[in-house]
Symmetry: C2
Subunit: 704 residues, 2 copies
């Protein structure tokens, strides 16, 4: 195990690492350096993991990626960048594996067999960066070592593992209350409802539109009493409007990003013209972070930070350029090329590089062009929020996640995977993205289940739910103008299926939460490619099956009209087939390839050999789960051990080692199974089912 | 077997059927009719095939489709319409299967389990249509019966089964000659090079840009002598320009579509402002068709008709509306909703329904609004071309294919599957679209191999080639501004692989051509879902394997970094593994599921039980193939028969039964295999390899 750091150019602190590694002076191993491009000859067997939030497979070979936080809701396989910029990769060969982390604040190109099929090349735009080479004997070790370098992942409150319902927008108090009422009336568990942009007065951060939300504070209180938390959105830009305190204060104190003349830079986002708080400035960050108190004081316990790539709809300059092209086009006969130029003038207005090159940050005294530190913006907005919330209530965990991110931000909050679409491909992308996000430190994450843009179908919703019930962030979100996506929006038959799935999620909470917390504490990853645990050739190749936590292998159906799928088992495993918490069956499958039928209303997953899964109960929300009984299903050929973690779910006491544990050990003896249980989790009935090849199933009840 | 016709509203002749079916007066079977919507309760096991050119799977369940010819190069799964409008579906249940054809000239909605998961509903916008219900005892019968109704498919010249190279654009004579030279220099077989829009003078149909192509006629001649045909593009719109003969003639004769004031309708496409020839008017059609002579006289033997949905970049009216929104937006603070409205004004300029509602056709005396007959436009443009070419040389086959189409146009030409993108998903879509296109009569078809838009990667190109070598139209096409896609554009290693694949294609020509011609003559389909031949449950479900012709099952790799795939065999089959014509191996696999490794440079396909495949030789182009030897690989458990069809490849004599045949019969006897060969194909050496389970391979040489 070793980490080596190499430094190039002038280093800007990206707030990504928490460990000081001494700088090496020699050659960078593995890579050839030429004209500021690092290149590496890929062998046929090499897999390339990492890059966190990005398109395509778990193995990133065969495309050119750019780390550059980008707002792009219509992303297909041909995009190079998504919302996050996560410059960590692992090259996993037959004989050697190592990690590479490029610590730099702006664009990095990773050409992974795009230009030349066997060449990986890395090009850092500004050529100022730290390069870390991380070596280890296996993938888990390399990943862990990297995570130790970048620091422990964010921990949300336990209720953030419940089901979350969102839409752009539940636009009025009446609508929000109505959505909550429907869930309760239909006995569908739920923990959060989201407030998208319309809760604000003219899209101004830290304001309330009291016309649509006349009793905002009371609504927050009433719903929280009913077990539903409201999660408002926060924009990266602050509206320019006289009399708006946040605008005026920011101007007065000089907390906004500046243009080249030294005036606050004007971009337009939701409210029209805005200034961007200079999140790279520590004073501005402190100031903005404290603003969250406005909502915390109203009873709000969680936030999502949006548009913080930052997305820019347009700038005055860009718009005027487009208007000019309109003037020049008038009364002309526009042919294909001139017409496309006109159209592109409007298509290209948003998130243009010329805008990113025309504003500046004051990084505590140092003036830096935005483009040169682009990837740190969303990161530092969320850092501002986290530090602000910490200053408001240092003992309490808040729910906090962001759209844009870079490595290091995982210490402050989670991310959702940005504005996706109701496509089967995007469900597939969600599955494949999870391990790479985890490797980059993002454990609290998940996709907009069902897809944000586009119209979802009942079958896609069902299959997506069947995957999202396993992801830490399980949020259903959809855009204005698209079909409604609540679990009751697709007719009775689908409602029943989706309700069963949400209930199943609540039953999984003990396991998910336990695995999550252990992954944070131990710098492990929760979602792993098979190759992290199995060495055979096929395990290196499989991308539509992933390991989840210590015990499970997930095998979601991600194809429309798929009523079954192929499953590869690198060892004997126990298949669980379920429709809901009350409809579960299991069967042992042997190592090898299988085709397994899986009807729409059911899903399958696997318990690995000598592992076990715990299922609790459903309840109206996470807080109401009592779990007086836990159902344990174990597949034991020799010995299975599970360590269940639990804590109060809301404080930070776990940091001081204050949490509960339950250690369950099941050993296959000659005649029977020996079960040893200990730990400080008490007052529960454990219903243990032990399955073993060649033995009859054993059912035991244990009281602790 | 039966076809029933039901009629609703006022029928417009769509030129789709060639058989008169008497109208029924009773209730439409199967369907419930309510408020002009036909609905059908889908059973769990029902598959829904058809809809020709469209997104998603072979089985169309789970989406809402609209038959409405649409220009949309960025099509993902969430599109409802592509370039063709093919209103034929087959519902394939466990106990009953039937076909439904909606014969109508404008929009039809097929909601196939989108709104309600178990309901298929059909809504015809104009409510004027013939509905055909086609019943039969199996899928092949239903498909064949429908094809008999709509008439025999177009037959291209045999050279159109060679490799074809295209790009928007090889913009100069020098460039076109250079591309040809490179193919010859590198000994890569090729039959056609395409001329995209830049060969024309200011994008005017039936003109030559002599600045870029100073010796156009000589170039056509020289290249044809070198075995390479040039295939120019033809636009659906004619430039408005004084002195341009096509423009002036059309105006004089009144052959253009009119606006509501009775003036020629002005739309803008490649050349800027154009008029659309009124292809629905028989005189205009005749006139336009004869214009192809301009190019035929220069030695041109084939054409692609483009933009004939018709695509409209903008209309004066639309552009002025957008300009007005610009005026109103100026000096305003545009928030999210007003900014999106501005952007949408430009995004929505092209192919707007308001434009389609503002021009008119004169259908031989009857004035009809374009939107009401929208889907007939491209169809009739290609009919114009076909009839024109027929009048120029009635004995010769021309290559002719179109972007837009509706049912009936398959008698005049082929289609390519429109402007796609360099995405693995689009390769997958290509595979799944083939059977549905075939069911709708389109046999001469294929996708832009490698993808038109976007940047292709060497591995995608390779895997796409491995599929396209089996499709009748095998064209590599790419857009301006994207990475070059010629087989030599991806480096030496890829060039070698791609060259081998093109050579393999030429080796397949005898089989492909034979299967093509038999499919045309017998109204069969060439690309079939497995369920057309196998009745088991899994064969009904598999979508990434398709049958091709009488003998083969294709199992392409359509996943990036896939170094193998699962294959389902409904019966024992013989796997062929190949890198090129000179690197072929085979192995029998048993009925059932298999995981098979397939490295990037190789591909696999299967010979069905008691079937055989013929492989010829490669040559610089189709015409140069001598095939003095044919290699036959047969998998014989009882008896295999193959009937090879061949003809002169250029005349229409086959219509009079003038063609060659070779019948090869291999019977497994007790001791040995008996081979009977007869027919009028002579002077060949047949190298026959017979594989049979439990026997040693038998190799025999036959001289005929």
């Amino acid at each position: 195990m070793s980490i080596k750091r190499f430094s190039f150019g002038k280093i800007i602190d990206c707030n990504s690492v928490v460990k000081e590694i001494e700088k090496e002076n020699g050659q960078v191993p593995y890579f050839l350096e030429k004209d500021s491009v690092l290149s590496f000859k890929l062998e046929k067997e090499d897999l390339v993991y990492g890059l966190g939030e990005n398109v395509r497979g778990i193995n990133k070979r065969g495309w050119i990626f750019e780390s550059y936080c980008s707002d792009d809701p219509n992303h297909a396989q041909d995009k190079k960048s998504l919302y996050g910029a996560h410059n960590f990769i692992i090259i996993h060969g037959e004989n050697r594996s190592f990690g590479v982390f490029i610590d730099t604040p702006s664009k990095v190109k990773f050409d992974i067999g795009y230009s030349e099929i066997d060449t990986l090349s890395i090009e850092v735009e500004e050529n100022n960066y730290d390069l870390y080479i991380i070596e280890g004997t296996n993938l888990n070790e390399i990943s862990k070592e990297f995570r130790e370098l970048i620091g422990k992942s964010y921990v949300p409150p336990k209720w953030a593992f419940g089901y979350q319902q969102s839409r752009w927008s539940y636009a009025t108090e009446k609508e929000v209350r109505e959505i909550g009422r429907k869930f309760r009336e239909k006995n569908i568990p739920i923990d959060c409802i989201y407030l998208d942009i319309d809760y604000m007065e003219k899209f101004k951060n830290f304001t309330i539109n009291y016309e649509s939300f006349p009793n905002f504070d009371q609504m927050v209180k009433d719903m929280k009493e009913d077990g539903i938390r409201l999660i408002p959105i926060i924009d990266a830009g602050c509206k320019i409007e006289n009399g708006y305190d946040v605008y005026e204060e920011g101007i007065k104190k000089g907390y906004y990003c500046l243009d080249k003349e030294g005036n606050p830079f004007v971009a337009a986002v939701w409210p029209g013209k805005v200034h961007f708080p200079d999140f790279l400035n520590s004073e501005a960050r402190l100031w903005f972070g404290k603003k969250y108190k406005f909502l915390v004081d109203k009873g709000i316990d969680g936030f999502w930070n949006d548009m913080n790539e930052p997305a820019i709809f347009y700038s005055e300059e860009g718009l005027n350029k487009a208007y000019k092209i309109v003037e020049e086009s008038k009364n002309k006969n526009l042919d294909i090329y001139s017409f496309f130029a006109l159209k592109d003038a409007f298509m290209g207005l948003s998130n243009s590089s010329s805008d990113y090159n025309s504003f500046y940050h004051n990084m505590d005294g140092k003036i830096i062009k935005h483009n040169d530190v682009h990837n740190l913006f969303g990161h530092n907005m969320t850092r501002a929020a986290a530090e602000g919330l910490d200053s408001i209530d240092k003992d309490k965990r808040f729910l906090l996640f962001s759209r844009a991110s870079s490595i290091g931000m995982h210490r402050y909050g989670g991310i959702w995977t940005g504005d996706n679409t109701s496509l089967w491909e995007h469900l597939e992308m969600n599955v494949k993205m999870m391990p790479n996000l985890n490797m980059c430190g993002y454990l609290y994450t998940g996709a907009d289940t069902g897809g944000f843009g586009g119209n979802c179908t009942p079958d896609l919703m069902t299959r997506w739910f069947q995957f999202s019930i396993f992801t830490p962030l399980f949020r259903n979100h959809s855009a204005m103008g698209t079909r409604n996506q609540e679990p009751f929006a697709f007719g009775e038959k689908s409602e029943k299926i989706l309700k069963n799935l949400i209930e199943f999620r609540y039953g999984l909470v003990p396991y998910i939460y336990s695995e999550y917390m252990k992954a944070v504490i131990n710098n492990d990853i929760m979602f792993k490619p098979l190759s992290f645990e199995y060495n055979d050739v096929t395990s290196r190749e499989i991308e539509d099956q992933i390991l989840m936590g210590d015990s499970l292998m997930l095998t979601p159906i991600i194809k429309q009209n798929g009523r079954g799928r192929y499953v590869y088992l690198p060892e004997d495993m126990l298949m669980i087939r379920a429709k809901g918490l009350n409809d579960i069956s299991y069967k042992v499958f042997s190592k090898g390839h299988h085709y397994i039928n899986v009807e729409l209303e059911e899903f399958i997953f696997f318990v690995r050999k000598d592992k076990m899964i715990l299922l609790g109960e459903s309840a109206k929300n996470v807080q109401s789960i009592e779990n007086k009984e836990l159902n344990i299903i174990a597949f034991v050929e020799e010995k299975a051990i599970y360590e269940l973690y639990n804590d109060d779910g809301i404080s930070k006491d776990y940091l001081n080692g204050i949490f509960d544990k339950l250690r369950i050990e099941i050993i296959k003896g000659k005649e029977e199974f020996n079960i040893n249980v200990d730990g400080n989790i008490k007052d529960k009935k454990l219903n243990i089912t032990i399955i073993s090849k060649g033995s009859k199933d054993v059912k035991k009840v244990y009281y602790i």
